[in-house]
């Protein structure tokens, strides 16, 4: 059945695109984990927060307007201006940098040297905190985010591929946004790798990741590097937030993507930037294909919810360091 086969290919392509977005979130995890050993559960909520802030700034929303109105009986909602997308993205980035500074100054400075699992739980607390603050600031209703990225299916690809199948086949349906996301992800990864490899700050970052104390003794400022890393993670979160936000609206489910990034990391390895990408692609394709071939026909569907975790679980048992990770796992 060539139609079925072509359809499977379309599923794979869409899975690849979804995988790119998982990989984007996973990237933020890897950055922070490499430089500070913190497993940042709040990465997904950071993406949500970034997207909310971006929408809020673009629309000229008054922060905390709901709270202000409830307390003082006023009725303010909007400043009445609209900020152009690029400027809004820049302003949001400033907010994310400020957030990075706050996180470092008020939370993790006090937790240096604690066990990783304590740090992990602290980031869960951070996630709750950020989610609450984001909702309080900008309201919790679902928002649409439009920064001018092209959307909808790509007709060009559909027309080019329509001849491949029979009468029932209308060509591959691929969202333009997904293509953009892929390009941006590739650029982002290339940029990050180049940054880590060739710049002074990047080298300092890797030094800190290698050995805190040694880095400190040759004059690298831990504080600065950590703020830098959190800002970078904030930047990646912003990009991921824009992509997901444009795709499915800015809403709470954005932060659940963070959980999907965990199995991605298990697969790719916690310490590897390419690993995050490959892991994301494998999970993306794997869960779509599994749903298409086994889940929907035999298991009643919605297997996407758990497939990634089960795959990661299997992987953990046989290759705990992931595909590209460093072999530092302590076996018990």
């Amino acid at each position: 059945m060539p139609d079925q086969f072509l359809f499977a290919i379309e599923v794979i392509l869409n899975g690849l695109m979804a995988g790119v977005l998982y990989a984007l979130v996973a990237l933020g995890f890897v950055l922070i984990y490499k430089a500070s050993g913190i497993f940042n559960y709040a990465q997904g909520v950071m993406a949500l927060f970034a997207a909310l802030t971006l929408v809020g700034i673009m629309e000229g929303q008054v922060p905390f307007s709901h709270l202000i109105n409830a307390t003082f009986g006023t009725d303010v909602h909007h400043f009445g201006w609209h900020v152009p997308a690029l400027l809004a993205i820049f302003l949001t980035m400033l907010v994310m940098i400020a957030l990075a500074w706050c996180v470092q100054r008020f939370v993790f400075r006090f937790l240096v040297g604690q066990e990783p699992i304590i740090l992990f739980m602290a980031t869960i607390g951070l996630a709750y905190f950020l989610e609450g603050v984001g909702d309080l600031m900008w309201g919790s209703d679902i928002k649409t985010l439009d920064v001018g990225l092209p959307q909808g299916g790509s007709f060009w690809i559909e027309e080019m591929t329509v001849g491949l199948g029979g009468d029932g086949f209308y060509g591959f349906f691929i969202d333009k946004l997904d293509i953009i996301a892929t390009v941006i992800a590739v650029l982002l990864v290339a940029g990050l790798v180049a940054f880590a490899q060739y710049t002074k700050q990047g080298r300092a970052m890797r030094a800190v990741a290698d050995d805190h104390q040694a880095a400190l003794s040759v004059g690298v400022s831990l504080n600065f590097i950590w703020i830098l890393v959190w800002s970078l993670a904030g930047f990646v979160a912003l990009v991921a937030g824009i992509m997901w936000g444009a795709k499915s609206g800015v809403q709470f489910s954005l932060s659940l993507i963070a959980l999907k990034a965990l199995p991605v990391l298990m697969l790719g390895g916690f310490t590897s930037i390419p690993g995050a990408i490959v892991g994301g692609l494998i999970i993306g394709v794997g869960e779509k294909l599994f749903e298409f071939l086994i889940g929907a026909p035999f298991l009643g569907g919605a297997t996407e919810n758990w497939f990634a975790y089960m795959l990661a679980l299997l992987f953990l048992v046989f290759r705990p360091q992931g595909l590209f990770g460093e072999k530092i796992i302590e076996r018990v």
């Binding site: 699992i117 304590i118 992990f120 951070l126 919790s140 298990m266 679980l313 953990l316 018990v332």
Partner: protein, 358 residues
Amino acid sequence: MFYREAGDFSTTYQQDNQTFPIKFDRYRYYVVLFIAIFVVPFLINDYWVNSIFMPFLIYAIAAIGLNILVGYCGQVSLGTGGFMAVGAYACYKLMTAMPEVSMFIHVLLAGVITAAVGVLFGLPSLRIKGFYLAVATLAAQFFLVWLFNRVPWFYNYSASGQISAPERDVLGVFITGPNTQAWATYLFCLVFVIFSAYVARNLTRGSVGRQWMAIRDMDIAAEIIGVNPLRAKLTAFAVSSFFVGISGALFFSVYLGAVEVGEVFGISKSFLVLFMIIIGGLGSIFGCFAGAAFLVLLPVALKIVGVDWLGWPTDIVAHLQLVIVGALIIVFLIAEPHGLAQLWRVAKEKLRLWPFPH
């Protein structure tokens, strides 16, 4: 002055080894038990039971279960919600399959079934630890919820996909279904709370508990001094899941009555119970109660202050609650990693010396 151990002599080993060696503590414990059993049931009404006492008691059991795993054995689990769902569905299937058997047996059996599932998902802990294990338990969480949603056998092919508890009684008094009395459901849960706390307390200070703590503190060293990590970890998973399963069964049958699995036993439930033991105190039975009480009372208190006094809309209060809980977690992890239980210990230490601190 009042809280002291002077003049409190132990003349036998049995006295020396009892749970509350200080007389004052012992009497306080008896008084609390007495009030809980003989005073509270006469004073409470439906509102108190449904919004405070029942969630508190049931979450306390779940927290005891999770604390055994996380606080005593050092294996972080994010699958509590999933295991509670196992308890709930096991209880439901048992209740509908065997209507004539006592509810006590059903709830205990639900715990046993959950323990078996817990051991199954605890198997990866033999090879991995830390948050690798946390992710493995996340797999349990999502898989179990999906399973109960999708396989009709679990909800007896009901049209809504929900499970709802049929009416069951103990000694002629209804404890599930629509015609329950506040005091009856309260006492039914209380029995399980006392049982769980008693068993957990004595397990954790016995040889099993010491094995768990040895594994938690340093697994390699524990293995060298002769603790079998396989046995210790799997027993921790089993005992922990047993209590979590009991709490899930009670949560479904006595407290809610009808359950939609994705909503009630989702990932947020796992986090809630985890927060309870962080705030209450890792590795402390008292901490389970303190944490459960704190996180049950916090939303109620916030609602009274925010909605009733200040007149804010409910969604603002809900968001504020997220902010406060998140901030509290961070504050506790920074300032007092051992939680409310440690504050209690410090207070007791101060009280022993009061009013002459030197």
